[in-house]
Amino acid sequence: MNPWAVYALSGVAMFSVGLVGLFSHEHPVKRILASNIAGSGVLLVLVALARREPTGAPDPVPHALVLTGIVVSVSATALGVALARRIARIDATAKAESTGASDPEAGGGSA
């Protein structure tokens, strides 16, 4: 079991944990964390495959891909969090309006 295989399996396990976690949680931030975990699992598999040549330098091309991948996944997380925050605020105002307004039809007021 050479080292790259160990890390590749670990990446695969992280990906499956993240993917299953993505479907078994309703909380938006939890799902963002799950998709982040799945993403870093895939990146781990990529870099593990780049290290298959035991001697000499590892393959730089997957390294460049994974490097930009990490920065893009952070910006995706930040965008996801901003969207989740916006949805939470809309739900809060919608709930406040529906409890505040006595007549029923005002419930679905636009945010």
């Binding site: 080292p3 399996l9 091309v61 460049a64 891909l65 901003a82 925050r85």
Partner: protein, 312 residues
């Protein structure tokens, strides 16, 4: 022999920690576990001979993701988990995870284990790329097109994050003249600027570059934001817009310039390749730092309205 033990132990506890992150009910615990997992994955990159990626993971993981997720704790409501439903799903989740791991693991392990990859090709043309470090050469010369589009992706993401978070609803935090965090900001800023400059310079012949330096500057920006030394960068100010646009515009300019002298897109002249890459990398550092910094929205002090006293 202990190296194999170290690798096995690290490779085992990464998915374990990932599972812990998603298993704990309360959000605040899973955020802290997630920060710890980012740290361990930086060690995994180090063990896989990928210092560039370990550097980016460290700069982005501890600098931004941790602070951003801590910020989410201040506005999310800890929804009470319906433990009954969760308990029903639990066995199915474990079965699904095991099956997925098994299938994908078999697929990955059946790949040829002696594939040399593209190392020889990259090293063959390294002399013409203008830099000595292969990863920087791939990032900014061989696959420059990829990095150019990736900067556009970052720009779109920050425009989206800011559009969704309109300034009218963003309350500015009251200036908390707290001597402790003020001192922290005063001591950290010179060190951050120095290390960021060092990383941009070292990117030419060693692990480093625009992404790592930009993430570190953004981390400093977040501290400045949290210690209310600086307000949130407003999208309306022209300085912020120019800072955002210097990277992409300069990169596009450097990419299009060879077209006028009869060469293909992004085909730098060999003599100036090194300087062109360095200038583009400097501009990218400014843009990436500004993008990652603006992801951090204007904050409301978590406790201020509820208990009416300054929480700092």
């Amino acid at each position: 022999m202990t190296a194999a033990l170290l690798d096995a132990c690290l490779a085992l506890c990464l998915p374990l920690l990932a599972w812990l992150v998603l298993r704990t009910e309360s959000l605040s615990q899973s955020v802290v576990l997630f920060v710890a997992m980012g740290l361990l994955s930086a060690l995994a990159w180090a063990r896989l001979d990928a210092p560039d990626i370990s550097l980016v993971e460290a700069a982005v993981g501890t600098g931004l993701t941790g602070a951003l997720l801590m910020h989410t704790l201040s506005w999310t409501d800890e929804r009470p988990p319906d433990v009954a439903a969760r308990a029903r799903h639990r066995p199915w989740a474990v079965v699904a995870m095991a099956a997925l791991t098994g299938m994908l693991g078999w697929a990955v392990l059946s790949l040829p284990s002696d594939d040399p990859g593209l190392t020889r090709e990259v090293d063959a043309h390294l002399a013409e790329s203008g830099v000595e470090h292969p990863v920087t050469a791939v990032l900014l010369n061989y696959r420059g097109y990829d990095t150019l589009l990736e900067i556009a992706v970052l720009l779109v993401a920050v425009l989206g994050a800011r559009a969704v978070n309109p300034r009218s609803e963003r309350t500015t935090p009251e200036p908390s003249r707290d001597p402790l965090t003020g001192e922290l900001f005063r001591m950290m800023t010179p060190a951050l600027l120095l290390v960021a400059g060092y990383l941009v310079w070292v990117g030419e012949h060693g692990p480093g570059g625009a992404f790592q330096a930009g993430a570190i500057l953004a981390g400093g920006g977040v501290v400045a934001l949290l210690t209310t030394r600086l307000g949130t960068p407003r999208m309306s100010s022209w300085r912020v817009r120019w800072a955002l646009l210097t990277g992409p515009l300069l990169f596009i300019g450097a990419a299009v310039a060879p077209l006028f002298s009869g060469r293909a897109l992004l085909e730098y002249r060999e003599a100036q390749a090194g300087t062109v890459i360095f200038v583009v990398e400097l501009a990218l550092t400014v843009s990436i730092a500004m993008v990652l910094w603006m992801f951090f929205p204007g904050m409301r002090p978590a406790r201020a309205e509820r208990s009416g006293k300054e929480p700092s």
